[in-house]
């Protein structure tokens, strides 16, 4: 049996969409390896047990719940010790993580504890004999490396948005587990979570992203992007590095080589010329729309649809049109 342990990510007591993506990826991995159970570890503070249902709805055969106040915030050291302990037992052939800020922090710790390699940040995978073979972007995602991992257990992290959560209902089965070490003993302590406006959808979770660049001229004009995002209802607002360097938008909203990598269903680039550093972070988006005054801007080379024009004029009209389309 090729059982898979999936590490589900939660934040502030809520499951993240990447957790469901990881469960879907875990089911696929179990199938490719000839069948096995998918167990999901869900750690969090008081009440996290009540958040397990969507994991079963997406194919978790069992949810291992680690509910303890010491996990209300990300507790990397205690979590790594617990995950390593579970993976050491021989029950699991695979450990599967989300390649998020937390997942990329946790997975290498676990790998080093177990003395096994980690196949990181894959957009897809297959199983070939005893190896997991995965596609991993390198060189700013300008080259795709296919890497083969031969270790036991095999640890893999999946890139956000690479897998679409697929419903595959199971009866909810939960098992309460405890931390492998005293959660209070961790040397690294997360003392505060700053999430900005928690009503806003995260860039990596958003099916639609409205991104603004220098062409918006001043910080206040990002209101036009916010308005369009609101019209879609499932959109987040991102920015280029030039914009975050100016302080128009928070640093954490930066999309590109040195910021976030996103691949939403729809990416609307407003007033963005398309520097390659920016393109590196969004070129895998399914549909790209560009609005720019300069008809020779590089963004038009990768955009599916382009409008040559001033984003400040086009955005409000587009917002009204999207509202109308949503209402009809």
């Amino acid at each position: 049996m090729a059982n898979v342990l999936v590490i589900a990510e939660s934040r502030a007591g809520e499951l993240r969409k990447v957790a469901l993506e990881a469960v879907t990826a875990g089911r696929k991995l179990a199938e490719l390896a000839g069948g096995g159970d998918v167990h999901v570890l869900l750690a969090g503070g008081a009440g996290i047990t009540g958040k397990a249902a969507p994991l079963a709805e997406h194919g978790a055969d069992k949810v291992l719940v680690l509910e303890h106040d010491g996990f209300a915030m990300y507790n990397p050291e205690a979590l790594a010790a617990t995950v390593a302990g579970l993976l050491k037992g021989g029950t699991y052939a695979f450990g599967l993580f989300s390649a998020t800020s937390h997942g990329r922090d946790l997975s290498p710790r676990v790998a080093a504890k177990l003395g096994v390699a980690l196949l990181p940040d894959v957009t897809g995978f297959s199983v070939d004999g005893g190896s997991v073979v995965g596609q991993h972007p390198i060189n700013n995602a300008k080259v795709i490396a296919t890497l083969a991992l031969s270790s036991s257990p095999a640890l893999v992290s999946v890139r956000p948005a690479a897998f679409t959560p697929a419903p595959e209902a199971r009866a909810l089965a939960t098992e309460a587990i405890t931390s492998a070490v005293d959660p209070a003993s961790s040397r690294v302590k997360v003392v505060e979570l700053k999430q900005g406006n928690t009503d806003k959808i995260d860039l990596n979770d958003a099916p639609v992203i409205i991104a603004g660049g220098r062409g918006l001229k001043v910080a206040e004009n990002f209101k036009l992007c916010e308005d369009l995002a609101e019209a879609f209802g499932n959109a987040a607002v991102g920015a280029t590095r030039a914009v975050t360097d100016e302080g128009w938008r928070p640093h954490t909203d930066q999309i590109g080589q040195t910021g976030r990598n996103v691949s939403p269903d729809l990416y609307i680039a407003a007033g963005i010329s398309g520097a390659i550093q920016h393109l590196a972070g969004m070129r895998t988006s399914r549909t790209i729309v560009a609005i720019n005054k300069d008809k020779d801007a590089p963004i038009f080379k990768i955009a599916d649809y382009g409008i040559v024009g001033d984003a400040l004029e086009v955005l409000p009209v587009l917002t009204a049109a999207v509202k109308a389309a949503k209402a009809s």
Binding site: R11, Y74, P76, A99, S101, H102, D105, S107, P108, R109, A111, A112, G115, A117, P120, H136, N139, A141, K142, V143, A145, L147, A148, L149, S150, S151, R187, V188, K189, V191, E192, K194, Q195, I201, D202, N204, P207, A236, R241, T244, H251, T252, Q257, T258, L266, T287, V289, K301, I302, D304, Y305, G306, I307, V308, G309, E313, V314, V317, L318, A321
Partner: protein, 250 residues
């Protein structure tokens, strides 16, 4: 304050990469190299911490080919005091094998801080820092974009998707530095001259137990050329129609 900074020599990415005929690697002919962006910010962070403390040393550790001495010299020209090259011609994708070699080099150094860039833009592994920390049994904070170190402890803010979290940690510790913490200084002419005389040790790296290997490489599928829908606000109705009927995203 005794600080080690682990840096990597990476290709300058403003090129179109080509894959070799046997698809085993990307062509390296004609590529230019520099210090990984994120490692420049790690070097800058180390220099600022040393300057603030009023004394200390910044030691650069680099695994790479013999030519990576250029990158170590550049770090020295920025202000690092010394460096070591763990020489290896292999392009290693197994982060644990690399982390083991780095940890062996760092373990007897009594460093207060070991800094890494958050990610190398070539391998995009994003794992070496936390692995080294784990192997050395040191606390680690990744994705640091705000940092305050004083009195044997630190407080950092790390990047999350759509937010951040504040983390407290004791020294010694490992940190991986993200974009936004600082802007790296340029080497001065005086710095470049001084760098030539700073100690740089070269020794072979030992990579053992490699479990992750390259099967093949490819270029990502090109996006089909797009089209200009029209000019200005008049193009909006047609764009909305295409988003609804063709792209089916609205």
């Amino acid at each position: 304050m005794k600080i080690a900074v682990c840096i990597k020599r990476v290709p300058v990415m403003e090129v179109k990469f080509a894959i070799t005929a046997d698809r085993s690697r990307y062509e390296e002919t004609g590529l230019k190299y520099d210090i990984n962006d994120f490692d420049l910010w790690a070097i800058e962070a180390a220099l600022q911490l040393k300057e603030k403390a009023g004394d200390g040393t910044v030691h650069v550790v680099c695994m790479g080919p013999n030519a990576a001495q250029e990158q170590i010299r550049k770090a020295m020209a920025m202000g690092a005091d010394s460096g070591v090259l763990l020489e290896s011609d292999a392009r290693n994708y197994d982060g644990l094998a690399v982390a083991r070699a780095l940890a062996a080099e760092l373990k007897d150094g009594s460093y207060d801080l070991v800094l890494f860039g958050r990610v190398s833009i070539d391998s995009m592994n994003q794992m070496t820092g936390p692995m080294v920390a784990e192997l050395l049994d040191l606390p680690v904070v990744t994705n640091v974009f705000k940092l305050d170190v004083s009195g044997g402890a630190g407080r950092a803010e790390r990047v999350l998707e759509g937010g951040s979290e504040v983390v407290e940690f004791p020294l010694p510790a490992v940190l991986t530095i993200d974009d936004g913490l600082n802007k790296e200084r340029l080497p001065s002419l005086k710095g470049i001259m001084a760098a030539k005389k700073k100690p740089l040790e070269v020794k072979p790296a030992t990579l053992e137990g490699v479990q992750l290997t390259v099967k093949s490489m490819a270029l990502p599928a090109e996006r089909a050329a797009g089209r200009i829908v029209g000019e200005g606000v008049d193009a909006v109705p047609e764009l909305v129609r295409l988003l609804q009927t063709e792209a089916k995203v609205l």
